[in-house]
Symmetry: C2
Subunit: 399 residues, 2 copies
């Protein structure tokens, strides 16, 4: 079978490496040889082995009837969307690591692939090398999914780990992450939670079978977390992680959120440190399973892309069914979402807090003149009202 | 599609519950309704809803052309093997949780299913609800697998956790586990490591595509672990877990072992406590991924069985390819296997130890008159010789 790789950046060159280095194993597993016929990129790569298959014109790829599978690892929505669509229209399967495109147009491209009896697969779009997409599509199929919680962004998890372990400030860890190449020079997509938001949108769409628009998901990054918050977390025996969550509530509605969360030590996500990612899925029969691994990186991500290529090559002429309708899933309103909360208030408001909140735990003495409180579960709306009255200076959701 | 459940014990009744309670979700995901046509069991269940579909004669099931999928959850090798084979010969797909049967005859039944263009699937045979089998068959396909390490037995992991956390003796925790229903009255299969051995045999067969006979795997249970060993582990900042491992060594040979192991805190398996199971898989591209969850229990196991049923129902008339040849995989010799070791020796042999071993860490003072040592990596053969000379009283493999 012939494969074309669109985009020869980090992931694209990783895909090239996996397909060539592991060719023998892949042929054995696939039952057929996978040949890289083209690599599409606007740039030149003199002296690189891809030179002999390098093309600059998408039309060469899409109009070649010998190309069976297109790997789209260009990133960005345009022209990746147009290219993917054209390829699918010609009956070529597409595999991608492009979370932005999948979150935005996944439902349409999946439906188009089904029509054309080919495939649109995107294992690498969430959790890098962690096989969470296939787990939702193919493994956790007997269950009603009750909750998904994920550490979906390695950069922010690295930062939160360093703040806790080395007592560094937010700015200091951000600088460190940038030096190490974990954070981009413009780190907004990571630290503001947008990256995690696209990923939980994809997972939630798959879990409930309908389109979740990421713009609908309340998203809060880690930029407001201070060393004092981290100290409070420690005093409660908890850790703060940026978590993307979705769950189905008693009212039958699906709620989704990206925000820092204080996790208990008993939560399997508690111990997920550094650049690692992990996702827990709770089914009504299965209880909780967790998948853990490298959420980014050239080769882990490329390995996930190639696992999609292999899946397609093993089932030629077959559409692997994915249930993700274009119909929009209306999420529950943010105000109605239920959470437990951590907040810091001036110590003089202690009595008022006892009146306004059901308090689960209190921490004194972390910072003079204030107390830290963990509340019982309550709605976002009711909490916001109370927090205002209490002059809360820091709010972090709790498990 | 029509399903027959063979065996109405814990898992069988769980499968019935999952298929009926989650019928709506399952129909949506499968695209077809799954009807339980028969439940086969020798016993009567007066008043139970299965009464109306209960049969006692296997021939009724196997000779009914309307039965598409047979769920074999009887346990034991006979007559489960004969029944599964007959069903496959008639072109009926079979799903099972029967690790004994899969470890023993999996390769043959998979090959028979391929011949008959149906399926033999066994997700529930390892790790209960954890989707590790599908991960090896369908997800981690682009990688050469370098290592698998698993906490594959919840009973022993519960026991090791309690010994550590509550300082209980082996006999006391065993009694506790039996009272809680985690351990059988005859606990040999768990505590001697036989259960974990069958599971690592299955995983290793899938990872390398050939038959691994579990009789060939060196297997050591947890019966010799004492409170003193647990104290030593703590003094090294480690935890002792019963681990099933296989890996491909530099000599190109696959080595497999089931034995207690002292894990470092940095190992993701370190924090897997209580009755939970977890498996790490290391690929040459993917690096390490871990899957974690309930390794046993009625509903988690049943959920995994039903996920196989759904996989089959989604691809009617298709064989899902599984590479596990009947050809035997010759494992590397036990004596040549390389490990790091913990051992306890009389303090007077310290100098001899320094001559015979490359010592990585030493612990004094845990028990008077002796020292604990962790060695560098060396072969089992060379270690055994040294340990004898050193009058070692306790040996545990180390990370």
């Amino acid at each position: 079978m012939n494969v074309a790789i669109m985009g020869y950046g980090t992931v694209g060159s990783g895909v090239y490496e996996v397909l060539t280095k592991n060719a023998q194993t892949i042929t054995r597993r696939t039952g057929t040889e996978l040949k890289i016929k083209y690599v599409l990129d606007l740039r030149e790569f003199p002296g690189d082995p891809v030179e002999s298959v390098l093309v600059h014109d998408f039309n060469v790829v899409v109009n070649d009837p010998e190309v069976d599978i297109v790997v789209e690892v260009m990133g960005g929505v345009h022209p990746a969307y147009e290219f993917s669509k054209e390829a699918l229209l010609k009956g070529k399967s597409v595999c991608t690591s492009n979370k932005e495109l999948v979150a935005k147009h996944g439902a349409e491209l999946i439906s188009l692939a089904r029509e054309k009896n080919c495939n649109y697969l995107f294992e690498a779009s969430v959790g890098g090398g962690i096989p969470i997409i296939r787990q939702l599509i193919r493994s956790i199929t007997a269950d009603d999914i009750e909750r998904i919680d994920g550490i979906l962004n390695g950069t922010t998890n690295y930062m939160m780990t360093k703040m806790r372990d080395e007592g560094l400030s937010f700015d200091a860890v951000l600088k460190r992450a940038q030096e190490k190449g974990y954070a981009e020079r413009n780190p907004a997509a990571d630290i503001e939670g947008h990256d995690a938001c696209r990923k939980i949108a994809i997972l939630t769409s798959l879990a409930y079978g309908k389109q979740v628009d990421y713009e609908d998901i309340y998203t809060e990054g880690i930029t407001k977390i201070t060393g004092t918050d981290v100290s409070y977390a420690a005093s409660f025996g908890r850790a703060i992680k940026l978590i993307g969550s979705s769950s189905i509530a008693e009212d039958g509605k699906v709620y989704a959120i990206v925000a820092p969360k204080m996790l208990k030590k008993s939560n399997p996500l508690f111990m997920v440190d550094g650049v690692f990612n992990a996702i827990t899925v709770k089914g009504n029969m299965l209880d909780e399973v967790m998948c853990y691994g490298k959420g980014a990186g050239k080769l882990p991500t490329a390995s996930a892309v190639v696992s999609d290529v292999i899946d397609i090559a093993k089932h030629p002429g077959t559409n692997i069914p994915i249930i993700w309708a274009q119909e929009k899933l209306e999420l529950g309103r943010f105000e109605d979402m239920k959470n437990s909360f951590f907040l810091r208030i001036p110590a003089r408001n202690r009595t008022m807090a006892e009146e306004l909140l059901n308090i689960r735990e209190t921490a004194d003495g972390v910072l003079e003149g204030e107390i830290g409180i963990i509340t019982d579960v309550m709605t976002e709306g009711a909490f916001a009202e109370a927090a205002k009255k209490l002059e809360a200076v820091s709010v972090i959701r709790c498990e």
